[in-house]
Amino acid sequence: MAKITFRIWVLIISLFLALLMISPTLRDGVSIKNVDSSSKSFESGLRQGMIIKEINSQQINSLEDYNLIAEQLLLNGEEKRISIVTKDSSFVFLDSNISSITVGKIPKSNIKTGLDLSGGARALVKPVNGSLTDEEVSDLVEITNQRLNVFGLTDLTIRSVKDLSGNNFMLVEVAGASRQDLADLVGKQGNFEAKIGNQTVFIGGERDITHVFRDATQSAVYQPESLGDGTYISRFTFTITLSAEAAQRHADITKLIPIDPSSGGQYLSENLTLVLDGEIVDELRISSGLKGQVTTQISIQGSGTGTTPDLATADARSQMHKLQTLLLTGSIPYQLEIVKLDTISPSLGEQFTKTLIILGLVVFLMVSLVLFLKYRKLKITLAVILTMFSEAFITLGIAALLRWNLDAASIAGIIAGIGLGVNDQIVILDESRSKDNSTIKEKIKKALFVVVGAFFTIIAAMLPLFWAGAGLLRGFAFTTIIGITVGILITRPAFADMIRKMGEQ
């Protein structure tokens, strides 16, 4: 039995640490990605991140199980008792369905996959004119974060990115949001104004609006009505609380407006117009009882449309939700433009991940076959394979530790990095076996020259990718650099020792 050298110990310990970082698990159930904050399920205490094990005493092992039950509940549309058992607790509420909960697969490990593998939406945002200063972009990130959180999206990454010419962008990546959601919540300035005539009564944001009601008692979506032309309209309403200052402004302005005689004295002659980013959301008649009154509670209305009653209701619900969000979070001081908007289907991503695993195995097989054909020694081939595997595994461990999102390009980087690693191992093998007159020390020095030289050229070559193209390809550069660094510091020295031991035997 060969002695385990210090360098081989380092490799073993690194592999063990990587395993800890990745910590693979095989749990059953589905994980909650999002709970609509105005829903009954939310009231009952269900939150993002919980693991659902059972619904109405039926076991939930997979997404398929969950979808089946969700569909059954949706079909018989009546309000009923729904009991959900999670990993640590159980929740009961009355609702007609569980569409307020969005679920996903339980993460099988700490490895996070990027948008193109897990599915989701991504937007790259900049102001319409010019670039943002570092300070502006961090403000923008903060407001957007707040908006998306208020909207109920939690599984999100928002960060500022800089490109090679120093332009700042905001990058938003979010699972479970539609294209339209992102366009409306991230790309919009969110400039809300309530006007009477040309005077502004109040604007969106916490200065004028102290509270937006989102629970069922003070917000509602009404039954859709047919418009006759094949489309339907569904109205929504919700209550907001104005600040004392805004309420006073409302009183001062309405005091001077005469009552509309044609309404039989019911309404004032001017309307309250709700404007969002220059477009009229709705026009509300003002009840004559409110004339000159300091009212802090105001009801906001609007509508959604669709080609079926269901679509109209869904649209109204979504419009209401977005308007509530924008009223709560206020506006951004400049117009924004979404310069890149990608939505990736999660179903494609699932296939990708499966294929990548198969591909990884085939790559290992092919490389070992080539090496076995060349060296005709099982031990050497195994040593190379072990080294390749260790490099990939430790790189994944580091990615898990740094919570790096591995996208397809990052995984290509890992494989390409392993390829470069194999090259180095071949150099070490051939140098140590070469029959020239130099001593072992010189041989290793020469092998090291090639290995270190190749290491620095790859780092030099990959470096610009950290900035070029708003850093969208930095994953590729990152995993390649991590991979070859792991190679040069951990796996290569261990490999050299293994080969030396084999030589001695």
């Binding site: 939505t343 179903s347 092919m366 007159n437 130099s438 020259f449 050229t457 470096l463 390809l473």
Partner: protein, 300 residues
């Protein structure tokens, strides 16, 4: 020197001594043809590569629905003339896996056309939609081009630092350059529309390309006590094995296309073409230059 090598080495190496300068000629001619081709390509297309919408601005819609691609193309072309449709199918069964619809128009224009054709709305579960604004993608492309340039310059500096001699360093850098030019040419001939990931692959290619060349140059300059030919031959044996394992790692990706992201396949594709080019440029171009240099400098 000449004498010694004739006494101690295989007869087939005389052949190499006689013809190595001519062997340098072939890749140089090939490179010249590639450069002329790229110039004419540039004058026709206004650029040296075909770009996908992520670099030229526009929309890519990926659907997993099985459709008649020709009908779909005709349908979209009625309103949007510049549409490219690509099909990814399973190599073993020929089954359609995904259809990529690329156009310079906006998603607002393209989505309804696709929806009309397949007869149902596109949503998050049945499609992927990627859009890049024209000014952004233009900017991305320029930056990636600059990145390739910077990366090439940094690599050259590392090489000069490693060898500290002019001719061997230039030979390594030149063959990396030739690898890139040849890979671009082949990508164009196969009408591959490069994405950002595809361009990133060229940076990786720089890394792969110098591996072999550093090995060759190091052995020729530093392996004392052997003839230049045997030094080249020994590095050829090691280097070709490196390239073969590299290709062995890359090639399966083309056969397992089922559900591989496009960016991924492009990276592998560019690397595979590039690795093939390194065989020519390292073992014909660089080997000849370094042998010439070694004989001229009387290195032993």
């Amino acid at each position: 020197m000449e004498n010694q090598s004739q006494q101690t080495h295989h007869p087939k190496k005389h052949w190499y001594d006689r013809y190595y300068k001519i062997m340098l000629f072939a890749p140089v001619v090939l490179l010249a043809i590639c450069i002329i081709y790229l110039f004419s390509f540039y004058s026709q297309n206004g650029d040296i590569i075909y770009k996908d919408p992520s670099l030229s601005g526009g929309t890519t819609i990926t659907i997993t629905e099985e459709v008649d691609v020709e009908d779909l193309e005709l349908h979209i072309q009625q309103s949007v003339p510049d549409v490219h449709i690509r099909v990814i199918s399973d190599i073993s069964t020929g089954r359609q896996i995904a259809v990529l619809i690329e156009s310079s128009s906006s998603p607002e224009v393209l989505i309804p056309l696709v929806e009309e054709f397949i007869g149902k709305p596109l949503n998050e579960s049945n499609s992927s939609i990627e859009f890049s604004g024209p000014s952004l993608s233009d900017n991305f492309y320029k930056q990636l081009a600059i990145a390739v340039l910077i990366s090439f310059i940094l690599m050259s500096l590392v090489i000069f630092f490693l060898f500290k001699t002019f001719v061997p360093s230039i030979a390594v850098i030149f063959s990396a350059f030739a690898d890139i030019i040849m890979a671009v040419t082949v990508a164009n001939l196969l009408e591959i529309r490069l994405s950002a990931a595809g361009i990133a692959a060229f940076l990786m290619l720089i890394g792969y390309s110098v591996d072999n060349n550093i090995l060759l140059t190091m052995r020729v300059l530093k392996n004392r006590g052997q003839s230049v030919n045997s030094r080249i031959y020994s590095s050829f044996k090691t280097g070709i094995l490196m390239t073969c394992t590299g290709l062995a790692a890359l090639i399966p990706a083309f056969f397992i296309v089922t559900g591989l992201p496009d960016s991924f396949r492009q990276i592998f594709f560019i690397l595979a073409i590039g690795l093939t080019a390194t065989i020519i440029n390292t073992w014909l171009t660089n080997a000849s230059i370094i042998k010439w240099y070694a004989e001229y400098k009387k290195i032993d």
